[in-house]
């Protein structure tokens, strides 16, 4: 009994470690990727040296190289955020003002509990699912927690004692409402296809092959659903082109009255949410931890070749595959963020209510008809 608890703790710590690192390194990715896309070099100056009793010259060489790659900028960011003044406006509510960033970041991180990051691993006669919480309605769990995250944002806007921040919070609320619905409804098609809400079962069902050579990933059954989901999920992350709640350059956002690490928590939330939607997209539409042609006993290639794979290698390969796919989608969302300009607010509402929502309803209808016709 106790050992089960320990195993759960280790798995959740691993997932948390991975998620926070992915989120933290996104500051680096954001700087470097935008620089490469715009023919610049990007951050390459921040570095520090350590005295001899911490390693001295050999460590310093490595630090200099890391600084040249701009990786130490993330560290400098954190140092700056921690050492800044934690300012609470006079009209603000001290308790709620402090609570809001915690709410935002907590619900974003906890949503990962339902996502299977790899195939179940068999160790010492024990089957350990690489999933923090095996919720049988995991999809609803993830979606629900992703939506609750907006409470932190609204709260931040309301208790700042700043009208512009309140407006930013309200913008966030109405944007979330407009896109949450499309987000949820677009996934009903997937649920109809796979017949389950359990994320680990959804991933397992994507392991098969279509016509003997095509991996049976969700995007092949739900191309429109995938497009709607990715659009709505981008809006969910509150980043460009849907960053109207924040609108840093001109329209003032909900976290205007936040400074230091509390602001950092909101910033982190955005990045965690990017990882979350990347992980959800991977899980629902791109086969999760599945690799094409890889079955638990080895690779079955469509031309008949077979390469056996040991169980641990299979699990490791699954974890690697999932990480790679998530990294790709993080890269892709970053690409969109640095390519498209921001929507106007009426365009945003138009897209959410008049385009994505009806489209996802249509998607459900067509999917249901096809499924009923096929399975009679």
């Amino acid at each position: 009994m106790l050992i089960d608890l320990w195993i759960k703790c280790i798995v959740s710590l691993l997932v948390l470690f991975g998620v926070l690192n992915f989120a933290g390194m996104q500051t680096w990715l954001e700087r470097k990727q935008s620089a490469l896309m715009q023919d610049r070099i990007g951050a390459n100056r921040a570095y520090f040296t350590v005295p001899w009793w911490l390693g001295g010259a050999p460590v310093n060489v490595v630090l200099r190289k890391l600084g040249g790659l701009g990786i130490l900028n993330a560290l400098a960011d954190v140092l700056k955020l921690i050492s800044k003044e934690d300012f609470i406006p006079a009209q603000g509510d001290r308790f709620l003002h402090t609570l809001a960033p915690f709410l935002a970041v907590f619900f974003a991180v906890i949503a990962f509990a339902a996502i299977p990051v790899g195939p179940p691993i068999e160790l010492f006669g024990r089957v350990i699912p690489l999933q923090v919480a095996n919720v049988n309605a995991g999809l609803l769990f993830a979606l629900a927690l992703a939506s609750i995250g907006v409470y932190g944002v609204i709260l931040a806007g309301m208790v700042s004692g700043n009208n512009l921040a309140t407006l930013g919070g309200l913008r966030a609320a109405s944007q979330m409402l407009a896109y949450e619905i499309a987000l949820g409804v677009s996934l009903i098609g997937t649920v109809v296809c796979f017949g389950t809400l359990d994320l680990s079962v959804i991933v397992e069902k994507q392991g098969g092959l279509l016509f003997g050579w095509l991996p049976a990933w969700g995007i092949l059954f739900q191309p429109v659903g995938c497009l709607i989901f990715m659009t709505a999920a981008l809006a969910e992350t509150k980043r460009v082109p849907f960053d109207l709640p924040e609108g840093e350059p001109e329209i003032i956002g909900y976290f205007t009255e936040y400074s230091g690490m509390k602001f950092g928590a909101f910033f982190l939330t955005d990045f965690v949410e990017v990882v979350l939607v990347a992980a959800l997209t991977t899980t629902l539409f791109f086969g999760g931890w599945q690799t094409p042609y890889l079955a638990p006993d080895g690779f079955h290639f469509p031309w008949g070749a077979f390469a056996p794979v040991s169980h641990l290698a299979y699990v490791g390969w699954g974890l690697f595959s999932f990480t790679l796919k998530v990294l790709f989608f993080i890269w892709f969302f970053m690409l969109i963020r640095w390519t498209l300009p921001r929507f106007r607010y009426d365009q945003l509402m138009h897209l959410g209510w008049k385009v994505l929502f009806p489209l996802s309803l249509l998607n459900i209808a067509i999917t249901s008809l096809v499924v009923v016709a096929l399975h009679g």
Partner: protein
Amino acid sequence: MASLSEQLLHRIRDAHTRRRLTWWERTYLPAIAQGLWITSAHFWRNLALHLAHRVGLFRHVPASVTIQYPDQLRKTEPRLRTRHRLTKRADGTPRCVACMMCETVCPARCIYIVAGEHPDPNVEKVPKSFDIDLGKCVYCGYCVEACPEDAIRMDTQRHDIAAYSRDGMWLDMKELLNPGSKKFGEPPEKFVQLSLEEFRQLPQTPDPPPPGSGLPQTP
């Protein structure tokens, strides 16, 4: 060729009769795909080039347009007006004959000359002190154009001028004759008056590189 106003009118007419977007175009998907194609092409091209530069390949193909400013210096244009200097005769004394043309023409009134007598009767005058307050200077270059003796030029290729105080922006005669001889933060010697012998004994800095060739290395 149509005149400018005609072109503008044509453009305005065009804007009114702009082609309506087709349904497929109004989904924005093709435009978004195009945009993503362009930006990701830049991304992969630059990433590949950066990696290739690391191992010493394709060094002649730039992966970015960045100039790493204090380490790398941008090539200056030949016509660029940079910080002033006073040109010297062969023996290190100033060419300036203290005719006051530059001081007179200066719109910012940032040049201060005190004239003295030159021992050579063919030269007649020499500046006892020659100061420029860069804090006032507007870099118009009139002093260079007014000078009949080619004694003042704006070709030091120095434009990284910074100081902690207004006094730090003051160029005294020693600095003007030998640009770069003063260290950063060293206070100026305002209205310093030197004899011709002292001019010859000043530590001489070489002439700046010819215009357009780039900046001298900062000390």
